[in-house]
């Protein structure tokens, strides 16, 4: 167990001073800062009605922005950049000559990426709360400093957004192993996003099975799809978990049997 932590810690060292590590921090800060800017510049539009908690509007706008394209692209870009550290430095041959099994290398990579995405949400929470209160202090009319955000709902959305991201994470995990050139996986992601927007515009029911749409479905469930719940998870999040399992198995087999570095 201790060795597993040691091996994962090496992935953190490797990511030091890379764009991947900056992306986690900047990515977590982007939407709260952007939303703060919107709320400050168009503050009159966001003045709450009497007795209304202004945080709900701040949260709704932030999460819609996050779910629309931002989180999907963040996950795709982070996965590409994370693997690019090895591809660019040509370090696979060194990794494969260390006394570690290939499966350990695979699971260290996957676990690290999951931790990175979890860190993104962990950083997002205080930055978002901090930004909200700062906006409230700068513009008292918005009353953000007089109320408190719904912490439970915030944690809940972070958790479900994480689950909704697992599908594209696993797909792009495989693509980033397969293609050393980052442009290809990013191109596939752009195509995926275009298809998702088209499905949304066309009010297609298939949106429940399309992984690039899952994050938006979590923050803003499509009205034309009858909601189905499986325990605490809506249907598309279960599909996201299934994508994660299937594509993780595929990438594992590819990594062990085919990938030579």
């Amino acid at each position: 167990m201790q060795q597993i932590f040691k091996n994962i810690s090496t992935e953190f060292i490797k990511s030091k001073k890379t764009f991947a590590s900056w992306l986690i921090i900047l990515g977590a800060a982007f939407m709260p800062v952007f939303m703060s800017f919107i709320f400050l510049s168009k503050w009159k539009r966001f003045i709450p009605q009497h007795g209304q908690n202004p945080w709900s509007t701040f949260a709704e706008n932030s999460w819609k922005g996050m779910g629309f394209l931002f989180i999907s692209f963040f996950v795709v870009l982070l996965t590409c950049l994370f693997f690019n550290i090895e591809h660019k430095n040509n370090t696979w041959k060194h990794i494969f000559t260390l006394p570690v099994s290939k499966s350990s290398v695979y699971f260290n990579k996957l676990a690290t990426l999951l931790i990175f995405i979890a860190i993104f949400y962990i950083l997002y929470i205080p930055i978002w709360i901090g930004c909200g209160f700062a906006v409230g202090l700068i513009k008292p009319e918005l009353q953000l400093a007089s109320y408190s955000p719904d912490y439970i709902s915030l944690l809940n959305l972070c958790f479900h957004s994480f689950i909704a991201s697992l599908g594209i994470l696993a797909i792009h995990f495989l693509l980033s192993i397969r293609f050393k050139n980052m442009i290809k996986p990013i191109g596939i992601a752009v195509l995926g996003e275009i298809i998702w927007v088209a499905l949304y515009q066309g009010r297609a029911k298939e949106i429940t099975y399309f992984p690039y749409a899952f994050n938006y479905s979590t923050v803003n469930p499509p009205s034309w799809v009858t909601p189905k719940m499986f325990g605490i998870f809506p249907q598309h999040e279960i599909v996201s978990i299934l994508y994660f399992i299937i594509f993780s198995i595929l990438s594992y087999v590819y990594f062990i049997k085919v990938f030579k570095g």
Binding site: Q3, K6, N7, S9, T10, I13, K14, K16, K17, T18, I85, K88, N89, N90, T91, W92, K93, H94, I95, F96, T97, L98, P99, V100, S101, K260, G261
Partner: protein, 301 residues
């Protein structure tokens, strides 16, 4: 103990395109084995096979008298390697690069300072690797390979691209490691002159086949046997006839005679013979066939 042994090792990327054919390597413990061959002869492929980076179809590679396929992790824990250009994280410092391997190999932290000192990189250890020269990167790669005090070092062209000073530094370091720590070293090169000063054994690879394998002294012997004496006299024709009667072989060219060299007594005897026959000697010169030529000859044939 035989540290590396391959038996009829074949390798092909596609069905009929054999890169290696029937390779029988034998590297003894404590030796510095020079693995020579022209570019494209299959050296890097052999090294990749020895390290398990490429799959060997017939499971016939043994390291430390253990089968590589079944004992990969235990073998790699005793082996340090450097393949072509060292694999380094350019955005990190030299220290961090070593630290990554240290954590995975579970080596004591104080080894980092020791290996940095060994490769003379202590002062530059906090510098980013992208600011390192090629020689420094090569030395850092070597430091990483040495971190776990391996019993075997496998180095692919470790002095390739280095300036003469860099080459000397690496050669001296390898000699020291071999003598003081008893590390077996297997190193490849396409230039004999780069490694002839340190190797104890040699394997010469050409077009995927091992065309020579043995002690370096055996190759020296081959060099010795192919040495000739060049003689210029007042009458080359007559001198040639006289020498031929006594030493069987001599060939006369317009300007000089060529006699296969045996030993120094033979040189004295030829001298004496020519003087006795009133032939003036203008020049006698021993022409050692240099090892590079022998290497070229072996690989040509």
């Amino acid at each position: 103990m035989t540290i590396i042994k391959t038996q009829n090792l074949d390798f092909a990327y596609s069905k009929d395109d054999f890169i290696l054919k029937g390779l029988n390597l034998q590297v003894e413990q404590g030796s510095i084995y020079g693995f020579l061959g022209p570019n494209g002869s299959g050296k890097t492929t052999t090294i990749r096979l020895l390290l398990g980076l490429l799959p060997s179809a017939n499971n016939n590679i043994q390291l430390f008298e253990q089968n590589l396929q079944d004992n990969r992790i235990s073998i790699l824990s005793k082996t340090g390697s450097l393949i072509e250009q060292p694999s380094l994280y350019e955005q990190l410092s030299g220290f961090d690069n070593i630290e990554i391997t240290r954590r995975i190999r579970n080596v004591d932290k104080n080894r980092i300072d020791k290996v940095l000192e060994l490769v003379s990189l202590t002062k530059a250890s906090q510098k980013k690797v992208k600011e390192y020269s090629l020689g420094m990167k090569q030395r850092l790669g070597l430091a990483i390979a040495l971190l776990s005090e391996p019993e075997l070092l496998i180095l692919d062209e470790p002095v390739n691209g280095l300036d003469p000073n860099g080459m000397i530094e690496i050669r001296e370091l390898l000699l020291k490691l071999n003598k003081e720590n008893g590390i077996t070293i297997f190193l490849s090169s396409h230039l004999l002159s780069e490694i002839e000063k340190i190797v104890t054994h040699l394997g010469v690879l050409n077009r995927g086949k091992l065309v020579f394998q043995g002690k370096y002294s055996d190759l020296k012997e081959l060099q010795h046997r192919s040495a000739t004496i060049h003689i210029e006299t007042s009458n080359n024709q007559k001198a040639s006839e006289i020498i031929y009667t006594k030493f069987q072989a001599s060939s006369s060219q317009n300007s000089h005679l060529t006699v296969p060299y045996k030993d120094k007594e033979q040189v004295a005897a030829i001298c004496k013979l020519l003087i006795e026959n009133n032939i003036d000697i203008y020049k006698m010169q021993l022409q050692d066939n240099d090892l590079e030529n022998i290497f070229l000859e072996i690989t040509k044939n």
